[in-house]
Amino acid sequence: MCGIVGLFLKDPSLEPELGRLTAAMLATMSDRGPDSAGFAVYGAGGSDTAKFTLRGKSAAAVDAAVERIKAAFTGATATHHDTHVVVGIPAGEADGFAAWLAAEAPEIDLVGRGHRMELYKEVGAPAKVAERFGLAAMAGTHAIGHTRMATESAVTTDGAHPYSTGADQCLVHNGSLSNHNNLRRVLRREGFDFETENDTEVAAAYLSWKLREGQSLGEALKGSLTDLDGFYTFVVGTENGFGVLRDGIACKPAVMAETDRYVAFGSEYRALAVLPDIGTARVWEPEPSTVYFWER
C-alpha cells in the first residue's frame, strides 16, 4: 500500500499556495505510507537555466559539495533544503555539470534534473519529510507526492518515490510489479543503471527507455499496460502537468477532483478533502487502462 497525491493548478492565484496544499494532502496519506515520502514541485524556471536536485548523506555533506560546485562552475546557484540542494547551472553547461558530478562527486546523488522540476524524498513520516524540506512554503504550478509503505524492497531513501524518468519528468507508483526482476535485466542490457531492487525504479527506467526510443510519454505509458505485470496506479509529473494511468484490474485506488481552479489526484478522497471548494468539485475515479493527461 502507498499513497499518491497530485495537484495541478489552473488558477495562477493559487500558485503561492501549491506547497501548503500539497503538504496537507501528503499528510492525510500517512496511513497509506508511513515509512518514507517524496514529492516533485514544478516551480519557477526557464530554458536558460538547468535545475539539478542533488542529495547527500547529510546537510553538511551537501554544503561541502556545493562549495566545490561553485568553485568549478562560477555561474552556479544553490538553494538548500536539508539533505537536498537545488543547483542552477547555465543551460549550456548542464551536460558538462552532469559529467563533472558523476566523476568528481560520487557521494552526491542526482535526484532529478530539468528546468522547473525539484524533487525531494527521504525516509520518515510524510508530514516530517515535508517539514524538513519546507514544502509548505514552495510555490509552483503543479506537484505530485508519494507516501510509501514498502513491499518490494527496503525502506531507504533510494527506495522512496518519486523516481526521475527524464528531464522535468518523474514517476510515482502505488502497487507492486511482479516482473521487475526480468525487466531490470532487459533494461541493464539497454544500458540503464539501477540503484535499488525497487520495482518502481524499473518502471521509471522502462518509461525512460521507451522515451529514448522515440515514443511519446502517452505511448510509453500505454506500452506499460502490456509490458509491466502487476498492480499499479502511476502518476507521472511532466514539465507542463501530470498524467495518470491505472492497470486493467484497477484495484489500486485513484480519485480525481476538478474545479475551475485545479485538477487534483488522491489515492483516497481524504487527500482531496483538504482542498478549497472540494464540496462543489467534480469528483470521479479514472478508468482502468486509460491514460489521462492534464497539461497547460
Binding site: 484497477a250 485506488p253 483516497e268 478522497y269 487527500a271 478533502a273
Partner: protein
C-alpha cells in the same frame, strides 16, 4: 436527534456510540457532519436507526450493516455496505469499487456510478445502481439482485452462481459462464417490487432491462438446491 461533527469528535467515539444502541433506543435518527472521506463511518450497526452522513465517506461505510438505514449525502469509497446483512444503505453520489461486496441481505441503492467489482461475491443483498457499474461486477455472485440503470463494464457476472443481474444499458462483455436470459413477467414483477423498496417506483420501466445469469456450466448446479439461493 444526536448530531455528531467528525471534525471534532473522533470516529471511534461515534462508532462506539452507535454500537451501544439497543433495538428499543429512542435515539433513532443520527446526523453526522464532516466525514471528509474517513473510513468505516457507521460500520457494524445492529439497531433499527437511521444515520445520515452529510458528505463523502471513505472505505467500508456501513459495512456489516444490520437493521439500520444509512444515508450518505455524498460519494462513498471502497466497499460501501460490504457484507451487509439487512437494512438499507443509500449513497447519493458515486461509489468506489466493491460496493455491496459479499452482502447477505438488505438493500443498497447508489444514485451515481459504482466502480469495478460492484456486488462481488454477493450472497443475497439487493443492489440498485442508477448509474453504471465498472468491470468485474457481480464476480462469483451467489444470490440476490444487481440492477443497473446504466451500463456494465467488462466481464459482468464472471463465474456467477445464482445471483440475478439486470442491466438497462449496454454490457461491455459477459464473464465466464454468464449468459443473457429471457426477461419474463415474473422478473419484471420482481424488479417492480425492488424499485418500490428502493423508493424508485415509477422512475424506470422494468421491461427496459435485460436479464443475465449463470449458464450453470462452471459449477455443479442441481435443481433440487435452487431454493438455497
Amino acid at each position: 436527534m444526536p448530531e455528531v461533527d467528525l471534525a471534532t469528535t473522533p470516529l471511534r467515539e461515534l462508532n462506539a456510540a452507535l454500537h451501544r444502541l439497543k433495538p428499543d433506543t429512542n435515539e433513532r435518527h443520527w446526523l453526522i457532519a464532516n466525514p471528509a472521506g474517513k473510513h468505516a463511518v457507521a460500520a457494524g450497526l445492529d439497531a433499527p436507526v437511521t444515520v445520515e452522513v452529510n458528505g463523502p465517506v471513505g472505505y467500508y461505510c456501513a459495512g456489516m450493516n444490520k437493521l439500520a438505514t444509512v444515508l450518505v449525502h455524498g460519494s462513498a469509497g471502497t466497499g460501501v455496505a460490504e457484507n451487509m446483512m439487512s437494512g438499507f444503505v443509500h449513497v447519493a453520489g458515486d461509489a468506489s469499487q466493491a460496493a455491496g461486496a459479499t452482502g447477505r441481505g438488505g438493500l443498497l441503492r447508489i444514485d451515481g456510478n459504482a466502480a469495478s467489482r460492484c456486488g462481488i461475491s454477493m450472497k443475497g443483498i439487493d443492489i440498485v445502481v442508477r448509474g453504471s457499474v465498472g468491470h468485474m461486477s457481480a464476480f462469483m455472485a451467489q444470490a440476490g439482485n444487481l440492477v443497473v440503470f446504466g451500463d456494465a463494464g467488462d466481464a459482468l457476472g464472471d463465474s456467477i452462481y445464482e445471483a440475478r443481474l439486470f442491466v438497462r444499458g449496454s454490457v461491455a462483455s459477459l464473464g465466464a459462464d454468464c449468459i443473457e436470459k429471457p426477461m419474463k413477467d415474473e422478473h419484471k414483477a420482481a424488479l417492480h417490487a425492488l424499485f418500490e423498496r428502493a423508493g424508485l417506483d415509477g422512475s424506470v420501466d422494468p421491461s427496459e432491462f435485460r436479464r443475465y445469469g449463470s449458464a450453470r456450466k462452471l459449477y455443479n448446479f442441481h435443481v433440487d438446491h435452487a431454493g438455497a439461493y
